[in-house]
């Protein structure tokens, strides 16, 4: 079992929005919150040209990169077809209103 690190409160992330987490050895991680309060975390770097996914528009379980409009699946980190590519996904969960990320 992995250890979980406290990141923030759920309410610190807007619905259909995200926050950026600076995690020393991991770099920048985008933590997203969907409309039904599911939380996902991806490396904050679009597989296309490195755009900050944290700044994109969140819809359903996808985020649209603000630079060139690629859609990335929040639950798998994969680019939506016909685009190809992916970015690293991190384990997160919500417990008692707290967002936790696996170390």
């Amino acid at each position: 079992m992995s250890n979980w690190k406290l990141i923030c409160k759920l309410e610190d992330i807007p619905q259909l929005g995200s926050r950026v987490v600076h995690w020393e050895e991991r770099g920048k991680i985008a933590v997203f919150r969907t409309s039904d309060d599911e939380v996902f975390a991806l490396h904050d770097k679009c597989p296309h040209k490195g755009g900050p996914l944290s700044q994109g528009i969140v819809h359903g379980k996808r985020v649209t990169c603000p630079l060139h409009g690629w859609n990335i699946g929040l639950d798998d980190g994969k680019a939506v077809a016909p685009d190809v590519g992916g970015c690293k996904k991190f384990e997160v969960k919500v417990e008692n209103g707290q967002v936790l990320m696996a170390e």
């Binding site: 690190k5 990141i7 923030c8 610190d12 807007p14 619905q15 259909l16 929005g17 926050r19 950026v20 987490v21 600076h22 995690w23 020393e24 050895e25 920048k28 933590v31 409309s35 039904d36 040209k49 490195g50 755009g51 900050p52 700044q55 994109g56 528009i57 969140v58 819809h59 359903g60 996808r62 649209t64 603000p66 630079l67 060139h68 409009g69 859609n71 016909p82 990320m101």
Partner: protein, 818 residues
């Protein structure tokens, strides 16, 4: 959806383009509704029949034109029976029976049996070497015949006949086209264009016999066809005879089961036959007395049928206007609608036989109803769009025939005609996509719309300047399959069927004030929209119901959330407002101090007379705003679909030629419009005299001072496609400038579609319309102006508000230590 133990069964007869497209549309909107079974008489999966001509011409292979691989059927859990022809529909027991005895029961039946070539009822029509042209088998037979034999005769000078003739010629045969009509393609072309086409095809080596009636096909010693004999006694050699004299809908099966047919399976506007459990689409159908033989209408039918099969019951098929493009490499031909004209119509003609260009436009009641183009078809898609939209062309009539190239000015080396471009030529300058790549994608991936091409190739997906070129390439690659939707029917995005116009109207009529209400009212298919529809809906809500609808930051693009412009490296640029392009030492000092304090790497003067600070980290934004606010500066909105700048010349304040106080007028306008959001960015300019140093001719609103007052110009654009602003009216006072331009912008704000610049909106609605609302209707103008002022009455600086009121959290990263 209701949970069912056993799903209802849908059986499709006909594994072709119309039927399978219906199933695809159905799976999109109701993926788990049915257990689906498909019967196909051919031994192949669904392929792109309209690309059989390039296969015959040797430009493509059969493998390349398959639309749905066998894996697709498996993946979608569809039971596929190929090589089985249905012999009986037992409607009483709701089952179908194939020629090999296979039986399947249905709850809903979809018939898409297509058509068969019409074989002339003449002696010898069943000889070996006499074929129709319909499927892979026929194509293979022609390719084989071309290897062994010399003389080919194609009976019928229609689209299919000419494409077949061209292909056989390219395969080395000596080809004669026999045609009953007085000129070629008489169902698509008028006489002049038909003759021009004949000339170019003759130059390619084809022979033609017009107004010839075939009497019989003569058998040779080998038993195979050897000659064609005409009624006038003439006889020509023929080792291969291709019948392309039209198609006949395949409705015998339906008719034998008692379904009402009249030269086709008769369907209503929901694609339902007289048996409510049975639907029919495609070439086997007659709808309002018309049977369509081109693929575009079939796709429209497929969409409607799918909607009703899914139980949504909202689509109606009301018939199609079709356009034609001949798929013979090197020949440019386009026709649409009622191209012959007649009683009550007028014609505009351009005829340059030497230059090989012919254009005819047919107009009825100030509307384009049809057209033929030969030699120069670059504007075909534009004309077709005007035709489908039914737009009043009175105000553009004098230049209509010269076309309005849909192609932007830059990014493709000045080329505007796709046909002239080499495969290696760059079409999309933003993404470096060549013509060859686009053609390849259209063919190999089976793409039919501009959106699909954008998705798969990225061409035209950035600035969009080459969209017109891409449409031309699409039209010439797939011919009659290409059809643009009427502008007001194009869905906003993949989340809905509804168009921008419809959504705007419903938000207004139904008094909808939240995106959730819009999604619920209009049956959105996604839980919270997408990056395309959410910003549009948010804008429609706040512009239609100011002070009432609440702005939703999460539905805005990052630039409007962060009040700064995101750059390629994820940093931002900050532009403080300088009213009318004016500044002073105090502001400049504050900007210089801020630039040093935040280590701004680049400081640049913009095209709109502002100073841009580039390379600022997101977390520094609130700080730099505070510093600039302290010096009295506010947001320049250089990032928004909003008022950007009012550019001014120095005007009568200083200039010896100036006739009006341009700077003061500019500042007044900019203050009036502060924090105004719009469908797209809005730029203004004020010049103090007709020398026009502020470049007012390429702005959304351009004001030019003259001795007796001001001239107001609208709808200019200096970007992707340079568009010169059009004269709206002349006024005498500063107050009138504010009222007229304010009312104009408010009309645009209320009626423009999201991401539509004023020039595009103006092109859609016409200058006459805007004139009527702004110049001729004084009460209306004053009401619009008042509405604009009201919606901007409590405009606040977004920098100050997001620093002071809004949570600044979004700007601050969460730090996690090891």
């Amino acid at each position: 959806m209701r949970k069912r133990a056993v799903k209802p069964r849908l059986v499709l007869i006909g594994n072709g383009m119309a039927g399978v497209r219906t199933v695809e549309e159905l799976l999109k909107i109701a993926p788990d509704h049915y257990d689906i079974t498909i019967f196909g008489a051919e031994p192949h999966p669904n392929y792109n029949r309209i690309l059989l001509s390039p296969v015959l011409a040797g430009e493509m292979t059969i493998a390349e034109i398959v639309l749905n691989e066998l894996d697709w059927y498996k993946e979608k859990d569809i039971k596929l029976h190929t090589g089985k022809q249905i012999k009986t529909i037992d409607r009483a027991r709701r089952k179908v029976i194939a020629d090999d005895g296979t039986e399947e029961s249905y709850d809903r039946l979809l018939i898409a049996t297509g058509s068969t070539p019409f074989m002339l009822p003449i002696p010898g029509n069943d000889l070996p070497g006499v074929i129709g042209y319909r499927d892979i088998k026929d194509t293979d037979e022609m390719i084989e015949a071309a290897k062994l034999h010399k003389h080919a005769v194609v009976i019928g000078g229609g689209l299919l006949g000419l494409e077949a003739a061209n292909g056989l010629k390219l395969r080395g045969m000596d080809v004669t086209v026999v045609h009953l009509g007085p000129w070629l393609l008489e169902r698509q072309l008028d006489e002049v264009a038909g003759k021009m086409l004949q000339k170019s095809l003759e130059d390619k080596g084809l022979k033609f016999l017009l107004q010839k009636q075939t009497e019989m096909l003569v058998q040779g010693e080998s038993g195979r066809v050897a000659a064609v004999r005409f009624k006038d006694g003439m006889q020509i050699p023929a080792d291969l005879v291709v019948m392309a004299a039209g198609i006949r809908p395949n409705y015998a099966l339906a008719e034998s089961s008692g379904i009402y047919c009249n030269r086709g399976i008769v369907v209503n506007d929901t694609m339902q036959t007289y048996d409510p459990k049975v639907y029919a689409v495609g070439e086997c159908v007659t709808h309002r007395g018309i049977a369509y033989g081109l693929v575009a209408p079939l796709f429209e039918q497929a969409k409607v049928a799918a909607n009703h099969l899914a139980g949504y019951g909202i689509g109606r098929y009301t018939g199609s206007v079709t356009s034609t493009k001949l798929k013979v490499t090197g020949i440019d031909l386009f026709s649409a609608g009622d191209y012959m004209g007649g009683e009550g119509t007028e014609e505009i003609l351009l005829n340059d036989p030497h230059g090989g260009v012919y254009k005819k436009l047919v107009i009825r009641d100030n509307k384009l109803v049809g057209g033929v183009m030969y030699g120069d078809t670059a504007d075909g898609p534009w004309y077709f769009q005007l035709l489908k939209d039914g737009r009043d062309i009175h105000d553009i009539r004098d230049s209509l025939i010269f076309g309005q190239s849909l192609v932007g000015d830059v990014g493709h080396a000045g080329k505007s005609k796709a046909a002239e471009m080499a495969d290696s030529a760059e079409v999309c300058g933003c993404n470096g996509i060549t013509k060859g790549v686009i053609v390849q994608a259209i063919k190999s991936k089976g793409l039919f719309t501009l959106d699909e091409v954008k998705k798969h190739t990225k061409a035209a997906s950035s600035c969009g300047s080459c969209a017109g070129l891409v449409e031309q390439i699409l039209a010439s690659t797939i011919g009659g399959a290409y059809t643009p939707a009427a502008s007001d029917k194009k869905p906003m995005c993949g989340c809905t069927e509804h168009s921008h116009g419809k959504v705007r109207k419903l938000i207004n009529d139904e008094h909808l004030t939240t995106k959730e209400a819009v999604f619920a009212e209009l049956g959105w298919t996604t839980p919270n929209g997408c990056d395309k529809c959410r910003p549009a809906i948010n804008y429609y809500l706040i512009s239609t119901w100011p002070h009432e609808a609440k702005d939703d930051p999460q539905s805005r693009f990052i630039n409007e959330r962060a009040h700064a412009n995101i750059q390629k490296d994820g940093t931002y640029s900050v532009v403080p407002r300088m009213w009318g392009g004016l500044t002073n030492p105090k502001e400049l000092r504050a900007i210089a101090d801020a630039a040093e304090k935040y280590n701004v790497p680049t400081v640049k003067v913009t095209g709109g007379q502002r100073i841009d600070l580039l390379g600022i980290k997101k977390e520094d934004l609130p700080g730099i705003w505070a510093d600039l606010n302290a010096a009295g500066m506010v947001s320049g909105h250089a990032y928004g679909k909003s008022i950007r700048t009012v550019k001014t010349c120095v005007g009568m304040e200083h200039c010896r030629f100036g006739t009006q106080l341009a700077m003061s007028m500019g500042v007044k306008l900019e203050k009036m419009l502060f924090d105004m959001y719009a469908p797209h960015k809005v730029k203004l300019a004020v010049s103090g005299c007709p020398r026009n140093c502020a470049e007012a001719g390429i702005k959304d609103v351009g004001v030019i001072g003259v001795d007796s007052g001001y001239e107001i110009y609208i709808g200019g654009n200096g970007g992707i496609k340079t568009e010169v602003a059009q004269f709206l009216c002349k006024v005498t006072s500063d107050e009138d400038v504010m009222e007229y331009s304010g009312a104009f912008l408010q009309l645009y704000r209320l009626e423009g579609w999201y991401l539509e610049r004023t020039c595009h909106w103006l092109e859609r609605v016409g200058l006459d319309y805007v004139n009527g609302k702004i110049v001729e209707d004084e009460d209306g103008r004053k009401a619009l102006y008042a509405a604009l002022l009201d919606s901007l009455k409590d405009a606040k600086d977004p920098w100050a508000t997001s620093r002071e009121e809004g949570p600044v959290k979004q700007f601050i990263p969460i730090m996690v230590e090891a």
